[in-house]
Amino acid sequence: MQKLLIILLLVVVTYASDELKIYERVLPAIFKMNKLKVFVSKDLESILSKSKHFVVVNDCNDADILFGRGFSKIKKECLKKPIFATNYITFKTYINSFGAFYWRKARPQLRFKQEILDKFHLKLPNSLRKYAR
């Protein structure tokens, strides 16, 4: 059942090209918050600002999480916050990156690092535990 849910989720994302939907399902569930303050990379600003579940903040200090890719230019203290990456490199490079959603060979990839989740006392919903390493 869980597999089916995930596959459906991924299919919806794949075919509907609406990544926002998966962000809205995954992140508020992990953080158990209806509205999440996010500091996003430029490419995601326009997408996330449309959502009711995310509040895009301009100062990374005000954010609950960092969201996106390539955070090399932001304040270093902000890098201590949990990061949800949108590409493999960011997911791999940043130590506080707890999860990622990105495309590889035209296939969606959803990944979580259990260690980092534990560090931030974040708990995955049952349906997403499969993707944690």
């Binding site: 596959i7 791999k92 495309w103 590889r104 060979k105 296939r107 993707y131």
Partner: protein, 491 residues
Amino acid sequence: MIKNIKLSYIFNFFAILLLVGVYILNISFENTKHIVSQKSLHSEINYTIDLSNNIIEHIKDEVGKENIYDVLEKDEYLKKHLESFLQTFNTNRYKYIYVVQKAGNEFRFLLDASKNVEDKAEFGELYTPLEISKWNDVYKTKKISYFSHKDDETLWITFINPIVKNGQVEALLILDFSIKEYAFIVEALNKLNGNFNYTLMFSMAVFMVIVIFSYVDYKREREREKIKIELQSKNKQLQYAKKYLQNRVKEEVLKSREKDAQMVEQSRLAQMGEMISMIAHQWRQPLAAIGSVGNSLIIKSQLGTLNSDVVEDLASKVVAYSKHLSSTIDDFRNFFKENKEKTKTNYDEIVNSSLSIVEAALSSKDIKIIKELESKKEFVSYANELKQVVLNLVKNAEDVLIENSVKEPYIKIKTYDTENKHILEVSDNGGGIPDEIIDKIFNPYFSTKKKKDGTGLGLYMSKTIVDEHCDGSLSVSNSSVGAVFKIVLHD
């Protein structure tokens, strides 16, 4: 023979032919479509099989007998060399070429030919394909597998060729290649097939319409046949009725002629009776005079006063009376002589001639004759027949006057001319004809005479003579004192 075949049958035949033809064509096209699309796909697949086998052979040659993961992990140069090698096949068609190895429930990249930095996978990067079970199946079966999937624009084939070493699947070579051309062919064939389906549906619709039309036509034809049979039956009945009626008409005409003959005979007999009666009236006075002369001769002979002068005087009287009797017979003979041709005549002649016959009888019954003869124009007609009519009208008036015991009875005969008409009216003061019978008095055998036995033919014959022989009209009306019969003749 063709003329006898009904149009609906021909329509049906062509509709069935069309339907069967289109159906066969459709089935044939379905098969062709299947063959073409399969051949097209197989051609792509076969090419990719050859290509992937060559790539695998090259990788195997380069890696040697050791585990591919171990070799590539250690030998960065070899990895780059093999990725460069893979990149040589990387085209718009072969979008992704990479080698993965199973790692637990997932896979990990070993080689990736991608030139796109964003999409290029690292060595050892974990990877979760959507159809992971199909990928796992290749590990189990050790056989090539492929399946299609579609992104927003294009139909893709994910082609999986296992890299088998020592009987074990060590890694998988993945080629994602576009089957755009195949998709175009299939799409075109599907469109064509759709058109064929429309044609088939159209043919079916045409067939249905023709079947309905034929059914309606068949029903109408049956109805027409039924009506035709009914008509034939009615026609036969009509023919029979016609023959029957023709025979009846013949019979009735014969009967009518016989009746007419009888009527004419009766009329003639009646006229004879009238004539004898009138002759009796005419002859009474001269016969009495002749008798008187005879008595005078006897008395004078007994008295001895008979001499030659007296005898001569009395004999000349007898001769005169005899001549009068003879002329009376001539008058009657002429009167009842039938005219073969129309002659010029006028009402004065007709009236006077008629009255000369009947005047004595009327006078003896104190019936006054009033003559107002204003018509002086001559016309062409059957004079004797008109005289008979006038005589008949006068005699009828006389009978009515006698029967009704009219005081100071009279019969008025009036003639006058209008522009092109000659009119004669015979009227009396006998009280007129009752309204309930006035329309019937010209019917044959209709009579009101009680004391005298009337034949009921006098007025019928009179009307026939005036209306049909003389092209005129005889009508009747009532004045304040009696009946008015009116004869109208034309120039």
